[in-house]
C-alpha cells in the first residue's frame, strides 16, 4: 500500500539507536546491501528487500533520492512465487510415472519421491514469475519515528527483520503498551501506576 493511495494503513514504530556518521551514507549503504534481487528467472520462491519509493522496480538509490525534506522515504518489496498445489501435483505425478517407467520398477523410495518433488518445484519456480508486493515507509530519523504503510502481520514482521539487518537499529512497534512506556510523557510514578491498573468496568 502506497503513500499516494487514496486510503492507507499505518503502523507506527520507534527506532532505537543511532547510526554511524555520515548518516545519509550509512543509510544508502544499508539500502544497497539489502536491496531486493530479481528472482523471475531463478529457482528461489521468495525475495525481500528495499526498493526506491518513486520507482519500485528500480534499486538505484543514487539516481532515485530517498531523502525528501527531513524524511527518509523508501519501500520494502516482497516478491513471492505461488504455484497452485494442483499444478505441483500434476507435474509431480507425471515425473514419478516417467521415473517408474525408465527404471522398470513399481515403487519409488521416500528419498526418490522427495528428490522428484524438489526437482519439480525447482523447474516450476524457474518458469513462474514472482508477484511483487510493495510497502512504503517514511522514517523521521531525528525523532526516531517511522511510519510503515501496512498493518499486515507478515509484512510488519519482515520489515522489522530487514530493517535491523540493514541498519543495525532496533525497530519497536508502537502499540498502547510500548507507547505508554517509551514515547508517552508520563512520569516514572505514573508509568508504575498504569502498569498496575486493570480494565475499568462501566456498568457496575
Amino acid at each position: 500500500m502506497g503513500i499516494f493511495s487514496s486510503s492507507v494503513s499505518i503502523t507506527q514504530y520507534f527506532v532505537e539507536g543511532k547510526l554511524d556518521e555520515p548518516i545519509i551514507e550509512t543509510i544508502s549503504k544499508g539500502l544497497k546491501k539489502q536491496s531486493i534481487e530479481e528472482i523471475d528467472n531463478e529457482s528461489s520462491d521468495k525475495a525481500i528487500g528495499w526498493t526506491c519509493f518513486n520507482d519500485p522496480f528500480n534499486t538505484d538509490f543514487d539516481k532515485n533520492p530517498f531523502l525528501i525534506g527531513t524524511h527518509l522515504v523508501f519501500s520494502m518489496r516482497i516478491d513471492k512465487k505461488s504455484i497452485p498445489a494442483k499444478i505441483v501435483q500434476k507435474h509431480y505425478t507425471l515425473e514419478m510415472k516417467k521415473r517408474l517407467e525408465s527404471s522398470g520398477r513399481e515403487f519409488l523410495s521416500k528419498t526418490e519421491k522427495k528428490e522428484i518433488k524438489d526437482h519439480v518445484l525447482h523447474l516450476l519456480n524457474l518458469r513462474i514469475p514472482a508477484t511483487p508486493n510493495i510497502y512504503d515507509l517514511i522514517w523521521n530519523y531525528e525523532e526516531g519515528r517511522l511510519w510503515f504503510f501496512s498493518n499486515l502481520k507478515g509484512a510488519n514482521e519482515e520489515l522489522e527483520t530487514l530493517f535491523t539487518r540493514s541498519f543495525k537499529l532496533k525497530l519497536i512497534r508502537l502499540f498502547p503498551y510500548s507507547m505508554a512506556t517509551l514515547t508517552s510523557p508520563l512520569s516514572d510514578m505514573e508509568k508504575d501506576t498504569i502498569a498496575q491498573l486493570s480494565q475499568t468496568r462501566f456498568t457496575e
Binding site: I10, H71, L174, T203
Partner: protein, 156 residues
C-alpha cells in the same frame, strides 16, 4: 476507546486541548464492541453510513467495551477519516484531505511532503489523545470524576 466515544459525545471542547485546529471529532461509519462474559467473547459490529449508535450503547450497558472505531476528524476546512483498533492503535482506511495533482515527476517531492504533513496531523491527534488518556487514567480524577460520568452516560 470507550472513553473516546464518551468524549466525542459529551465534550468536544476537550479535543481543543490536544489539537487547537480541531473543529469536531466524531464516530464514523463503523464501531466494534467486545463483551467478555464467562470466558466467551461476543463481538458486536455496527457499520453503515446511516447506522445509529443505539445498539452500541445497549452493548455498553451489557458490559461491552469499544475495541475498534472509525473516526471523522474535522478542522475548519479539512476532513480526515480513519479506523483505529484499541489493541494496536494502528491506522487503517486512513483518508486524508485532498492534495494537489501529480502532473510531473518534480511534483513528487512537494506532494509527498504535503501527504506526510496530513498523515502527521491524524497521528498527532491520536497519539495526543492516547497520552491524555494515560495521564487521566493514572490520576485520581479517573475514579472520582471520569468513571462516574461515563457510567451516567452509559446508564442515564
Amino acid at each position: 476507546m470507550t472513553w473516546l466515544w464518551f468524549s466525542t459525545d459529551t465534550n468536544q471542547d476537550y479535543f481543543k486541548t490536544i489539537d487547537e485546529t480541531i473543529t469536531t471529532l466524531d464516530i464514523g461509519n463503523r464501531i466494534v464492541l467486545e463483551n467478555n462474559v464467562n470466558d466467551t467473547s461476543e463481538i458486536i459490529t455496527i457499520k453503515g453510513d446511516d447506522a445509529g449508535l443505539e445498539e452500541g450503547l445497549l452493548s455498553l450497558r451489557k458490559g461491552a467495551v469499544v475495541v475498534e472505531m472509525n473516526l471523522i476528524y474535522k478542522t475548519e476546512n479539512q476532513e480526515w477519516k480513519f479506523s483505529i483498533k484499541g489493541e494496536s492503535l494502528s491506522f487503517s482506511s486512513l483518508k486524508v484531505p485532498e492534495t494537489g495533482p501529480m502532473e510531473t515527476k518534480d511534483d513528487v517531492e512537494g506532494l509527498l511532503l504535503e501527504k506526510a504533513y496530513l498523515f502527521e496531523k491524524a497521528i498527532h491527534l491520536i497519539n495526543g489523545l492516547f497520552n491524555a488518556f494515560l495521564k487521566l487514567r493514572a490520576s485520581v480524577e479517573w475514579d472520582q470524576t471520569v468513571v462516574p460520568a461515563i457510567r451516567k452516560w452509559v446508564l442515564p
